[in-house]
Structure formats: C-alpha cells, structure tokens
Symmetry: C2
Subunit: 335 residues, 2 copies
DNA sequence: CGTGGACTTGACTACGTATGCATAGACCTG
DNA sequence: CAGGTCTATGCATACGTAGTCAAGTCCACG
C-alpha cells in the first residue's frame, strides 16, 4: 500500500541505502543520483515511515505535553505557545489531559520508555504527584509549577513576588479586610502566591483574617461559590485576591449576582492575565506573567535536554511578573 | 538502556517469542510460564516499544485531532470529549492547531502515511481547504463542519435549524432590525446558521436589512468591533445574532462599552452554548448543540472506520439543536 | 507398545529505515 | 604506469516486536 524507500530503489535500479542517503541529504551521494531519487520520491508520493525511523534512530520527533484541565483557558494559551515553538523545532506535540487520562503518570512513562515521545512538558505538576520515572531518567521540564523534592528543569514565574504586588497594591488603597480564594493546596502556584501575599501584608502591618480564606479548585465555579459565601458573611471583605483569573471571574460574577458593585464596594484581583482578563466584561486587575517567554523557554529547555542528555544540571528559570491595573481595583470603601 | 522482550527472554532462559505471546495473552502459553514472564516484566520495568509494535502491526494507537485555534474556548471543550472518548478506546491523541502549524494538510498526510496516526478528526475543515489525501484514503471524520464536495464521515449539528430558531424567537419578540455578525464565509457552520436564519425571517415576512450584516472571524475581537460599528450606525439594530458564542461575548462587551443596555435596548443571541455562556457575566441566550454526544459519535465513527476500512459508505450524522433562553434576549424596545 | 492429538515452545522472518563496512571505479601523482 | 586517494554505491545488519511454521513433549487410547 504505502510507498517505501525500497520501492523507489527498485524503480530506479539502485540500492535502498542510496535512496535513504539521498533523501536524508547525505553528501556522499552524487548530485545527479540525488536528483533522480527526489524526483521519484515526489512522483511516487513517498512518505517516510516514522515508526521504522524511530526504531533505528531512537528519536521520535514527538513531545508530550501534560495539562491539568484543557478547558481551563490558561492552558490553551500556554499550549498554543508550546505547540508552536516545538513545531518550529520539528517536534510534534501529543496532548495529555490529566483530568481525563486515567493514570497519566503511567501513560507518560510508557510513552517515553516505549519511544513514542522524546520528552515531556509537565504543565501542571502537583506536589506529591508521582512523576514518570526517576528524575533525570526521561527528558522533562516542568512549567508553571515546580516540585520541591524533584530536581528537574523548571520554568515558572515569580509567583511569590506576584502575591506581594497584590498585597502591596491593596493595602496602599486602604484595604484591610482582604479575602483570599486560593487554589488547591498541593499546587506551588497557589501556595507561593499566597505566601508572598501574606508576607507583604505582614510587612505592611496588616493582619490577615484567617476567616476570610477559602480554598478550592482553579475554576469559575469555585470563585463563584466562595465569593458568594464571603459576601454573605458578617465581616464582608472589601477586596478579594483570587489565586488565578478564572477564580477571579467567578468572584466577579458572584458580586454581580448579589448586586455588589465592583470595584466600588469590592475590589478583585486575579493572577495570570489570560486574554479574557482584558475583555470589557471583566476588565480584571491581575498579575501578568510573560507566558510567551515562558513557553519558549520551556520548549528550548526540553529540546536541549533531549539532545544533550542528563549530563547538564537541571536548571530553574524564574520569570518576572507585574501588576496589570484595570477596572476591578479601587480604594477601599469606607463601610 | 530500555528493557526489551528479548531481555526478559534471556533472563528466563526462554525464547523471545514466548515472552511476546505471554505478554499479549496468547492462550497457547503455559499458565506457569505466563506467570513467570509477567513477574519478570514487572520487576524489570518492561515497556513495549511502540515503534517496533507499530512497524509490524501497522497500527499506531494514535489519532490526530485538528482544530482551528485552540484558544477559542469551543475547541477545548470538544477536544476534551474527543480525547476522553479515544482514551477509553485505547487511542492516544495528537493535537494539531491549524493556526500555528504550517501546512497542516501536508503534516496530516505524512502522519497517516508515515504510520504515526491511524486516523484523523478534522474539527475545523474549511470549504476549499485541501484535505489530506483523496477521500477514503485515510480514515477521517469531520466534526462541526462538513464539506460539500468531499464524501467522508461527518458529525455536525443542525446549524440551519439553529438559525431558524433564532430568527423565530427574535421575530416573535417584535424584533425587526436584526443584525447578523457572521463567521468566515468559508465555514459551513456560519453559512448554514445564516441560511436558516434568513429562511425563517423570510417565512415570517421580515426583510433582512443587508446593511446590518457583518462578517469576521469567530473571535471576541470580531464581535466587539462589529458590534461597536453596528451600534454607531444610523439604523441601530434592536438585536444581534452572532454566529457563535465568542462573537456574542464580544458584542456584549461592545454594548457594555458604549452603555447600551442588554437586553433592554439590545438583544444578543449566540450559538454553541459553551460553558462560559452560562456564566453570570454573560448569561447568554444561545443555541445549544449536544457537544458531548457529537464528540462521542465522532470518535466512534472514526474508530469504526479505522477498524473496518473504506468499504463502509461514509455517513453523516446530524444532531438536533435547541434554543437556550437566558438573559440577553428580550422584547424589542419601541425606539 | 505404537500412534495420534493436544499442548508448549523455539527458530526464523518480516516490518522500513539508517548506517558501518566493503568495493569498484575514477582520478591523481610521481 | 603503478600505487594511492577520493567518490559513489551496494551489501549486510540492526532496531524490537509479532506471528508463522516446525518440532518437541506428554498423555491417552486402541
């Protein structure tokens, strides 16, 4: 059915080796022969068999990208960048969605060991989640989150500093009762954002009211429910720091629902600065991380790791963040 | 480096054939031998080499999914369903993003011919876009959109009827000046939605004002800009039908921007009913298509096609749609 | 005690590509 | 013209798995 290099060889009355060399651009083949091979390959609509090539070269030209929940809009944005960057370098991208893939770790290990992928970008590593293989065993880079106990290439933004920026801005505007809607406790993103946030509050001499802390998923639903809850409480906060933008959207919607004006009565600050944060309907004040640069860095780190092997010591790159002031941030109401 | 079936055979002093048979569950191997093999495989952390397996079985266990623009939230929702369904059937999913992949068609053909994928789900086929290979050549199913001139398995919703439902609802509420913000002309989705919309307007005796028609991308930006434009025009519409939800969000944001109240002064109707349409901040009236069912159908169609080959005649499955009435739809203002 | 069948197992090969090694011819140099 | 170098090509093999065919063992039955 499919055309092989042997078919071309047979037609041109030459050996398969020569065909292979001609197609791969080996200089040890006569220019005229190369031309004939290329011509025949085009005419016969030849496509190299990737499985056979992989088997012998031990390279697949594919990388796996693991995300936590592809319907969370943060991931498609990052995925597109990664995907693009890898495509430029000649790698295909296989997607893994942890939420739907049963035992993703097992699958990932199989992929790399079974030579279906050359390396893995783990976007949503969770503290305590078993990683595929021992560190250093398979080329891997963590993006967005890191792991305390695993020494592996990592690309993150300065979440802690982001948290500080938020606290600083809120305190400066007179906020004292500030709620926090965190993400899952086992994510370094939420953990570090909260840590920085608390540090800066403390530095500013503002006590954090633990009764205003909520923990949930990185989802609209979580932000929505917890914000409704917070707004119904006795000591209603004047501001909410959401651990990411999607939570913030939920919080914003909750405020709308119960008629609390934003930012007049309630300030809301998110984290990530995904595209939607700039939409008129949200106009969310948030912490921006340089996603494109991070994606590029991750891709390059992984490619380098694939090509150089485990000799190079794992590196951790931390990218700067900045507060993007939009319309959900204002001075504390004097209630 | 990696453990092979031959390594296991060597250790157990048996042949590689027997190891292969034991691992694959061939009944012609003694129970005791099978147990020994499985035990050794586990201990040695054996993972079958997929490239080698693919080479001989001519099955890859992978399908490619092509989407137009992964950052458009419609696609992740569908992708998750497809991904999940294929995972259940034992297939991995490779993602293609047309916007970033240079010459996706070429890549796709290479994938299937080069045995890197068993089949393809083409989510965002565009009229006139060259498909990989001649139809019937590679297992393929189109989802969401179809092609006039290509006979291939297809899963779509009843877009035409959806358009009719929108026109019907708007006319019934007294709207006469209804704008249309369409998607790209070369998409059957936008085309059929518009067609149904026009048909029903005509049937209701309402003339469609061609000056209220706009065409753009399926993006927030397009909806935003065109809606600003429409609202600034002399004969401002009392309602807008957006070809999909993301356009509708843009339109909604534009109305907010210029202080036009929705739905009091302007009704907005979208299409797709993506998750976000139900968020408080949008609360969008829209046409729902049964995405989960469609995804499942597409996956099953493709799997069947992969396993049965081109003998089966291509089928087209059309799923029913329904109008979801939320808060952006109201009676026409008497301005 | 011989024969046939059921049951296990092993040797071997194919899949399509890449590449080390060998070879044949051309060309060059003294 | 002999010996060497260089160039272009072919031969053979490896990659790891699956499956074909043959063969060996064992037992039961006549």
């Amino acid at each position: 059915m499919a055309v092989t290099s042997t078919d071309i060889a047979r037609r041109l009355q030459i050996s398969q080796s020569t065909v292979s060399r001609a197609l791969r651009g080996d200089p040890r083949v006569a220019p005229e022969t190369r031309a004939r091979v290329l011509k025949a390959a085009r005419e016969m609509n030849y496509t190299p068999n990737l499985a056979a090539r992989t088997l012998i070269t031990r390279r697949t030209g594919t990388v796996g990208v693991v995300v936590n929940d592809i319907t969370n809009p943060f991931y498609p944005e990052l995925l597109e960048i990664l995907h693009n960057e890898f495509a430029l370098a000649g790698y295909r991208t296989v997607l893994f969605n942890e939420r739907t893939d049963a035992s993703a770790e097992r699958h990932l290990a199989d992929l790399v060991n079974g030579s279906a992928a050359d390396g893995i970008v783990y976007v949503s590593a969770t503290l305590g989640s078993p990683l595929p293989g021992r560190p250093g065993g398979v080329p891997m880079v963590l993006v967005n989150r890191y792991l305390d106990d695993v020494d592996v290439d990592t690309v993150v933004s300065d979440n802690r500093r982001g948290g500080r920026l938020v606290a600083e801005a809120l305190v400066e505007l007179g906020h004292r009762r500030i709620a926090l809607i965190a993400g899952p406790e086992n994510t370094t993103t939420s953990r570090d954002r909260e840590r920085g946030f608390r540090e800066q509050l403390k530095a500013a001499g503002v006590a954090f009211d633990e009764s205003l802390r909520r923990v949930g998923q990185f989802s609209h639903h979580s932000g929505y429910q917890w914000c409704l809850d917070l707004l119904a409480s006795e000591r209603r906060p004047t501001a909410v720091f959401a651990a990411n933008d999607v939570i913030a959207f939920g919080a914003l919607d909750a405020a709308r629902r119960v008629g609390v004006r934003v930012p007049a009565e309630l300030s809301i600050v998110g984290f990530d600065d995904i595209d939607m944060a700039g939409w008129e309907g949200f106009d969310l004040t948030t912490v921006r991380q340089p996603l494109a640069e991070m994606g590029r860095a991750a891709a390059n780190l992984l490619i380098e790791r694939i090509e150089s092997g485990p000799e190079v010591a794992p590196r951790r790159r931390v990218f700067p963040v900045g507060l993007v002031r939009r319309d959900t941030l204002a001075a504390a109401s004097s209630s």
